[in-house]
Point group: C2
Amino acid sequence: MKKLLPIVALFAIAFGAQAQELSNFQRGPRPVISPEIQGDSVTFRLKADYATVVKLSGSWMPNPYGGTIDMTRGEGNVWSVKIPLPSPEIYTYNFVVDGVAVNDPQNVLVQRDGTRYLPMLIVPGERTENYGEAKTHGTVSHPWYDSKILGYSRRLSVYTPYGYENSPKKKYPVLYLLHGAGGDEEAWISMGRAAQILDNLIEKGLAEPMIVVMPNGNPGQQAARTLNIPETQINWRSEEFRDAYVRSLCTEIVPFIEKNFRAVPKPSSRAIAGLSMGGGHTISASNLYPEMFDYICPLSAAGSATPEQVSALKNAGVKLYFLACGNSDFLFQRSEEMDKKLTEAGLDHTYFVSEGGHTWANWRLYLNTFAPLLFK
Amino acid sequence: MKKLLPIVALFAIAFGAQAQELSNFQRGPRPVISPEIQGDSVTFRLKADYATVVKLSGSWMPNPYGGTIDMTRGEGNVWSVKIPLPSPEIYTYNFVVDGVAVNDPQNVLVQRDGTRYLPMLIVPGERTENYGEAKTHGTVSHPWYDSKILGYSRRLSVYTPYGYENSPKKKYPVLYLLHGAGGDEEAWISMGRAAQILDNLIEKGLAEPMIVVMPNGNPGQQAARTLNIPETQINWRSEEFRDAYVRSLCTEIVPFIEKNFRAVPKPSSRAIAGLSMGGGHTISASNLYPEMFDYICPLSAAGSATPEQVSALKNAGVKLYFLACGNSDFLFQRSEEMDKKLTEAGLDHTYFVSEGGHTWANWRLYLNTFAPLLFK
């Protein structure tokens, strides 16, 4: 084990690390710890030898777009700030060193949002108790399905619950869980903590063991962290590609999952949920294929349905319609209209209105709230 | 699709993005493109409104530890530098803004090395032709196995080749592929491009379709991006935990894989390879369990074997012993000694010496070189 340090140092050199990044690996008498939660406060620290001004920016601040707190230079050029602990939730934060956003090199908990990697602060409490690691873990896999509709193979994220491997005869219901604009097939895993939420809910007996399928909802993208297919090659706005992704979801992904996983191939064992653009996809899927899913959950949704489309759902015998939105979401009015339409058509449904806006804090809350209602 | 932009902008605000990060999403008349390869040059660009000095640091530079090139401020505060294209390889790089390392917000290709997320530059050429996306893709999954030896459940990365799902009766050989100090079960996937290399080699018919298992080699760590089990709780250096990870690998992970995947459970269908510390694990595994693996590949390895241990391997009928190291690696002398021991014991082996040192450039090259030799 004594060999560990020189090897790691050489790695860092080989990869072009900057001097300040080596602080990751330094084992001095006073290692930099960040973030450090103590009682009802949290301290952030960053070693920055040459900085003039270091600030902290966090998603809990009233105006995170530019909202910052000054940090103070201390011994060994470790800058720090101690603040009252925000209320229980998962927040993201970064340092701002001489005007430039910098991640916390001490924090292994990182979300990915497109090309941005954001350190997380998980504040413990009732709200977040299902967001940390459970004792038991499902398996997350990334199979690729061939899409004839979109013209190439595409990557999925698939969660199978703890016990799936050890129960080779058991079949499971499936939740199709869709991301929003700017996201990809890893968004619910990374920002949504979907695996942790399902692990915890299933371990506690609160949710049915289920498969969760998280596709990539961008028709021009094969997979997370790959370039989009250039629009010069394919015009996704043309009539040929109208609803192309939703058609691929319902006529290619659903059959792929029901062939390659031990899924119950029935409407009563299929749920669909999605946020924002994915809420729009959820509504489109239920409009186009009203008999496919018995559980429908549009979250902070961009999308709408005609009275005829809602009637078709009612006739199909939908078991749960869970509509959710934050009361300061810019799409709140759309959810209000959807609630009205569902009421007018006499479709029994749940309308879940939470505080706040168009945020992952709300989408995690919604998943944690509706997953226990599925397949029961 | 017109709705995409405002939604994305709101996302960014909700997550506490800094002003400069919004440049990700801006679709002005002159979007920032970085890196941009044109002929035999490559241009890097970064929009940084308030910076005084912006530099580029890359792993191709003679002295990446501090080696930088100045960038020049241009129109709209876009800093840029155009340099001759380095020779074909995967490099990492970052910007240095007023002394602080910053990632390229325009580049979706990112490696993770511990808490560091490093943008990649993939220079096309013969050397890298198997490092990009193939037409066909295997599935990467992350099951967890219960370790009685280490006392908790632990996450694996498992690659199954293209066609695995569609050939439900076919069984496959398995390569156990181990990372080095500072790595985890995602290191070969992220930095090693293992999935891409196997996809390409199998697609071209150069390698046998195989399962590749990448465990986490840190006995105190459950999974990538989680905190280590504190040393105050478990003394990994005690006699009880001597070779604990290698024992867990051979007596827990191998049976787990052969139970839960369609693996051929025979020495002639098992290979083990590892880099640096993982090369040490490879040698330890072959010392402790000489009859388990017919294919043994220590890469830039920290580890050694006694003449008796080498003889035991020879008697077990090892089919391939592939020893590899860079000629300027700080562990090169150890590989030379190992080569000598193998020769003295009369164990037929391949000794592959490459240019360079203890780098992922070499480990990708080794995987691309030995994978076609396995299971034939």
